[in-house]
């Protein structure tokens, strides 16, 4: 799979530090997606205005999903502010690898079908798989 060809939606990942680049790199290694399907943007060292301008530039002119890392963060705020008047852009927070992989493989869907899938896959990707052994109290009672 190569990310669905030149048609379909594009994605922009906006996150703190090097997280966006790391996620996009990982998605590329797993899915083999084409370059430009997902664009990473970091907030590091950028003013709110610079970040908003960069997000708008990366979003481009077509339909797009902007993924952000932290709902209560400057990346999400900048994404929502910059995309407020763009009816062709969705903003989704809580980005993780399962969410991005779902996007890459289903970005030909329309927003109504795609967005619930992204949320569902992201949630389903969080599971507790092993727990530490329950604590055994070995103390001798008085």
């Amino acid at each position: 799979m190569t990310g669905g060809g030149s048609g379909g939606m594009r994605g922009v990942v906006v996150a703190h530090g090097k997280m966006a680049r790391g996620l996009v790199n990982a998605v590329g290694r797993i899915s083999g997606m084409e370059e430009g399907v997902l664009e990473p943007v970091s907030n590091q060292g950028r003013s709110p205005d610079e970040l908003k301008a960069l997000i708008l530039e990366r979003v481009g002119t077509g339909p797009c999903v902007v993924f952000t890392d932290l709902g209560a963060g400057s990346c999400t705020l900048a994404a929502r502010l910059s995309c407020r008047d763009l009816g062709r852009v969705a903003v989704v927070t809580g980005v993780n690898l399962p969410m991005l992989l779902e996007f890459v493989f289903h970005r030909d869907l329309d927003f109504d079908d795609l967005l619930p899938r992204l949320e569902e896959k992201a949630r389903a990707g969080i599971r507790i798989l092993a727990r530490p052994t329950p604590h055994v109290d070995t103390a001798v009672p008085d």
Binding site: H16, G45, R46, S47, P48, D49, E50, L70, G71, A72, G73, S74, T76, L77, R80, L81, R84
Partner: protein, 159 residues
């Protein structure tokens, strides 16, 4: 004093403020002093959505904040007061209103005309004048992005 932190940060309410400072200080309220934001309901809503339930966010113009500052300082609600630039904070402090307080410069990012003095602090001439004005009003000014970071005194910021 119930204003635990006066902070200048061009991102206003964001992760570093809410988690880095707010959790450590156990802040209950965020006072955002910004003339533009105080007039924009939809932008206020975006900022408010980023804050956990149970925490209060108040938006005020500089004039409104000056009228309420003594009350905010006295009423016992642990608060963080934020402005997006030194000019707003200097206007708030005018006339000795913040004498004896400390102002934290936590995030002023690059824009045309600003020069870097720390990775998270960039200043232009207006910023420098406003920070010096704060000091002249009896306010201690220092730079620090997070609580555990090294404090940068004003004279080092102004170089």
């Amino acid at each position: 004093m119930s204003i635990q932190l006066f902070r200048i940060d061009d991102r206003l309410i964001h992760g570093q403020v809410l988690m880095g400072w707010g959790r450590q200080l156990r802040s209950q309220r965020y006072l955002v002093v910004d003339d533009e934001l105080a007039e924009s309901d939809w932008e206020q809503e975006l900022y408010t959505l980023t804050v956990e339930d149970g925490l209060e966010v108040v938006f005020a113009t500089v004039d409104q904040a000056r009228a309420h500052l003594t009350e905010w300082m006295d009423e016992g609600v642990r608060s963080v007061l934020l402005t997006r630039d030194p000019t707003h904070m200097a206007r708030l402090a005018e006339g000795g209103l913040m004498k004896g307080s400390e102002v934290n410069v936590g995030g002023l990012h690059h824009r045309p005309g600003r020069h870097q003095v720390r990775p998270y602090i960039h200043l232009d001439a207006d910023d420098r004048d406003a920070l010096q004005h704060l000091a002249d009003e009896g306010v201690t000014v220092s730079g620090r992005d997070l609580p555990d970071a090294v404090r940068v005194p004003l004279d080092q910021m102004l170089g």
